[in-house]
Symmetry: C2
Subunit: 504 residues, 2 copies
């Protein structure tokens, strides 16, 4: 009977996954082609659909079916048992929260996020402070409801990165922080534009949107995004959405910044090949889905940074860029200068404009603040000051305005605590994957030096994408590399790469 119960619950859960996927297409539409005045009816549509999906999901009968499957797990296959485990995990999360708390949280999130926009514009943290206080209280209540036995911040992290704790992250981030600060100082010494003749502004050249689109299409082909299953559009902020046989990425074409859209396309393409290459036979079930934000981010950063900013790949693509963006020819930037400009390391105030190295400090700073906030070591009142102090200590930046500081990102004001660390976890995972891949494909750099991405792509498909959610993130990393996640591989990768580029 357990098999029959499994089939029943699987059918229900797959329907829900199909419906959620439909909602993400509606979201995509609202960011790409929807006429602007359609926004309020689209909001209503998405909220009504989401509520209906939630109601279908939390039906008590689903809980009974899942429990029945768990009781007779010996009648189910390994994959089926894993699906039951993951459905149950989400079912528990969805049913443990009383609906009035869900409602209050959702309202508070919308309110706080809207107010944050104004606060950021006016650079006035005080404006949003009373609301984010309330939001954090509600978020703590949520964490307690989800798991009264666990510390709150760990419960929140688990939403985005299953089975990873603040303690583990602290262990990863402490040596990472040390290594990055050391590397940044080294680079700072060398990166002075007067000494090295490298200047990231040399990447700013006149170009049309058509030229940038041409470049983007070249990348889509290089990565091997099947045009029968994917597409590229423009939106204000780049993102990836979709699943299985319909995965879509977006980019934005900024004035005089062709390499901006170039790397945003590579980043989103990394997300997209993950969604496109999940195990066919398990699609629409958890095992046939991506496993965590950290692993997702490892894929986008692997393509954007490890492959995309590798000097041998840059040497391969630079002549093509010169052809497609004639503005570069006029500047007569040498390939050496270009490689260094793409890999320029320079501390800055804004996370989303930071480089591959300093990016981690932006994340570590946010993680430490979140952790200490939920541990009660700091309060909402302290946030701007703590932010600014850490910015000074880690990135040598003096923050003068909250809009460049504690107000710069939307995450917290939308209630996403525990989300930030997944970005650097992605880097750490990616470094460890690179280490494993390098052993199996020692010639990977020669391949990208001639524009051949297929073997690397297949390696990622086989080792990451095809595993879906069969393993929790840390187990997946262990499967791939033989070791639990550790930051040393990513640190080694950075040190080795920048050593070579800057010749310390």
């Amino acid at each position: 009977m357990s098999k029959q119960d499994y089939n029943t619950i699987a059918k229900r859960m797959m329907d829900i996954k199909y419906m959620s996927n439909a909602v993400s297409i509606l979201h995509w539409d609202s960011k790409t082609y929807m006429p602007p005045k359609g926004i309020s009816q689209r909001g209503a549509q998405i909220s009504i659909l989401s509520r209906n999906i939630h109601e279908l999901f939390v039906k008590p009968e689903n809980g009974r079916l899942l429990d029945s499957c768990i009781k007779k797990s010996d009648e189910l296959s390994e994959v089926e048992n894993r699906n039951v485990e993951l459905w149950k995990r989400d079912y528990d999360k969805a049913t443990k929260l009383p609906s009035d708390l869900v409602q209050k949280l959702s309202n508070q999130q919308v309110l706080t996020e809207n107010l944050w926009e104004e606060a950021k514009e006016r650079s006035e943290y005080g404006l949003v402070k009373p609301e984010i206080k309330k939001l954090i209280e509600l978020t703590k209540e949520k964490a307690d409801r989800l798991n009264p036995e666990q510390n709150q911040y760990d419960t929140l992290i688990d939403i985005y990165e299953p089975k990873v704790t603040a303690e583990q992250i602290t262990k990863y981030f402490t040596p990472l922080k040390e290594a990055v600060i050391k590397l940044v100082k080294k680079c700072e010494g060398q990166c002075d534009r007067d000494i090295m003749g490298i200047d990231p502004d040399m990447l700013s050249v006149e170009c049309t949107q058509q030229q940038q689109q041409k470049l983007a299409n070249f990348l889509m082909e290089f990565i091997g995004l099947n045009p029968e299953k994917s597409r590229l559009d423009t939106s204000e902020h780049p993102f990836t959405t979709g699943y299985a046989n319909d995965v879509r990425i977006t980019t934005h074409y900024l004035e005089n910044d062709p390499m901006g859209s170039f790397y945003s396309v590579l980043h989103e393409a990394g997300h997209a090949i993950y969604e496109l290459n999940l195990p066919q036979e398990h699609l629409w079930t958890p095992v046939g889905d991506t496993v965590s934000l950290g692993i997702h981010e490892s894929q986008s950063r692997f393509i954007e940074n490890i492959v995309g900013k590798n000097p041998t790949f840059i040497e391969y693509y630079y002549p093509k860029v010169l052809d497609m963006i004639p503005g570069f020819r006029k500047k007569s930037v040498s390939i050496e200068q270009f490689v260094r400009a793409i890999n320029f390391v320079r501390p800055s105030k804004i996370r989303i404009y930071s480089d591959e190295v300093t990016y981690n400090l932006h994340i570590i700073l946010r993680f430490e603040i979140e952790r200490d906030l939920f541990a009660g070591k700091i309060t909402v009142d302290d946030l701007p000051q703590v932010w600014n102090e850490k910015m000074d200590e880690y990135l040598f930046q003096e923050i003068e305005e909250d809009r460049e500081g504690v107000l710069q990102d939307t995450h917290w004001y939308g209630g996403a605590f525990g989300y930030f660390p997944t970005y650097s976890l992605g880097n750490i995972y990616g470094g460890q994957m690179l280490h494993a891949m390098q052993e199996q494909i020692p010639s990977w750099k020669q391949m990208i030096a001639r524009g051949d991405f297929q073997i690397i792509r297949n390696w990622l498909i086989e080792n990451v994408h095809q595993k879906g959610s069969l393993y929790d993130p840390s187990d997946l990393i262990e499967n791939i590399s033989g070791e639990r996640p550790k930051p040393q591989y990513f640190i080694d990768y950075m040190n080795h790469k920048y050593d070579k580029i800057y010749g310390f």
Copy 2:
């Protein structure tokens, strides 16, 4: 308490309307931007969402709420009572059909439509005949279930054109048929290309897609489709979708046929301004929705034909076309020739390529066949022969292949019986609207002669769009014109127009 029940049912029904609208956006996406391999997951999404919408709609509690509202109708406003009436009408339709019949019908429709594609390709009616027989039997059962007291075909017509019967349509179509055949014969005498120097092939000129797009944008502006609430894209077959503040039309750009997309844009724009100008205060309820296919078609045909093919409008736009489509200059087509070419009347075999006049004969033929089929006067076996005989009699066309005959349209094979007459009802309604408008705005032709569509547009908004579904189609026509629908105004319009163009 009735007021409270009204609010409860209104909330539920509005949620359902929002969800259905979301489904139509997913459908639009599948015809415009969806990567081709996304088709099967999109099919699953739409079917799952539709089933969920259906389940929410047919809940017994909804029936109880509606009955309670009907019992205490004196506590509700006129609009509220009308909403209740229309919700109840649809609720009864949805609940009277046993779910196994719905399932059987849906399966048989898909099967028959797929087989029709092959049958049409091979021009072999026999291939699809056994399946369409079954489909018609199931459709008859559906009609009996919906209304056991009414004759089946009337019940089917009522789905698309509420409160209109086959007897009424016969009364409209009999004089229309006679008048059209007479007019076609007159035109045939005059339209000979050797005598009049008019040749519809003169509209075939070399042009790029960009040039056609420019023309389409000019029309969007002329009609006044607000770009904040609407958009134009390309798809294989032109269509309109959306509602309220987000209404989208599509067209297709055919080679060397700029006037093809020109008139398809005008047609769809006519549908679009209806959806865009429904009464704001009643949106998402039936009163704030379009009333019938016939009235919808009256709007598209009013813009496409009555306005769009009026000689004074053609005189206005022709210089612009000459500028935007340089190919026309090379052909040195005079304005008189161009007006006649746009309004060329020539019997043909294919409905969708036929002109404003003969189009009605294509519809009348289909209506008569449907009517006689459901009355048992002819059988599925007779269809090709009856089709071909009527084609010969009304349109003087000898049908040699079923693909040009009984297999040309998808409607019947998808189970849409009772749908075809709404096309010519749209013409008849449009003619009657024109008559009423002409009395109130005698100078309408001078207005379009100078490219001013605003007053006509406002007249349509005020008299048609803003009425939503407050009245059934025939009542709406009576409200506008003071008379029940009758074909004479459309007949007069045609005779007068073609008299002037061809100078009989």
